[in-house]
Amino acid sequence: MNLRRDVFQAIADPTRRAILLLLATQAMTAGAIAANFDSARPTVSKHLQILTECELLKQVQNGREIFYSVNPEKVKEVAEWAEQFRQLWDERFNKLETIMKKYQ
């Protein structure tokens, strides 16, 4: 099975990207994560399962509760986060360049 392709498929979904963003600064339980979405709890659980299977999320047992957190190594491997930010600025700067060339 192509794991790399799975990672990109995992992050292609907007809800799963929102989950990653939510967990970027804190570890949360499945219940707390689900409370942030309109989707049914089983739907959110399915998203968590996919993200965990491709190692974008880690599970940590704390007493009876399981906390989910982002796996930084895997995310770094994907490198998509910083790339989108770079593209956003690249596009703005391209526009700046085009506009200012008219003033030359």
Partner: protein, 154 residues
């Protein structure tokens, strides 16, 4: 082809650097940052206030494709024409805290210039979250083009 815009964001650091080489003389590059009508065009925002001076303030208002209004603002700590702008940046009404931005403008040759944007965040987590923002929102070129078209219709 080598990328004109580069990003340096080391893991575990609360800062990042964006560098860009322009086929523009330094004067024009700097002008793009100081003239409100020009800032509006390339940043895709409305400029409410832009005081290009030490201890000045700035405020931009942007409407996204979903018609939500976002306000970005800050103060200008230092302003050296054609050389440097030091300012704070904050997205109002969000959990993001103010970030410190150092913009260095350099002339490379007569028709070429370079911008270095050094951004310092309050924490590593906030930096990572800011980096993740365009990704999470699914901002891409097609999306921006759509916004451009929508803006023209309004």
């Amino acid at each position: 082809m080598e990328q004109k815009t580069k990003i340096h964001a080391e893991a575990g650091k609360q800062e990042l650097r964006v560098t860009r080489d322009f086929d523009l003389p330094l004067e024009l590059l700097f002008q793009a940052y100081t003239e409100p009508e020009i800032v509006e065009q390339w940043m895709g925002t409305k400029v409410i206030k832009l005081e290009n001076q030490k201890h000045g303030a700035w405020r931009f208002e942007t409407t996204d494709p979903m018609a939500n209004v976002h306000i970005f603002s800050g103060v200008i700590h230092d302003f050296l024409p054609f050389k440097k702008i030091t300012r704070t940046f904050q997205m109002e009404n969000t959990p993001f805290e103010a970030q410190l931005e150092f913009l260095d403008f350099e002339s490379v040759e007569e028709q070429k210039s370079k911008l270095t944007m050094h951004i310092v965040f309050r924490s590593v987590a906030l930096r990572d979250q800011m980096l993740a923002l365009p990704f999470a929102q699914g901002i891409n070129m097609a999306h921006n083009r759509l916004q451009e078209i929508v803006n023209k219709l309004i």
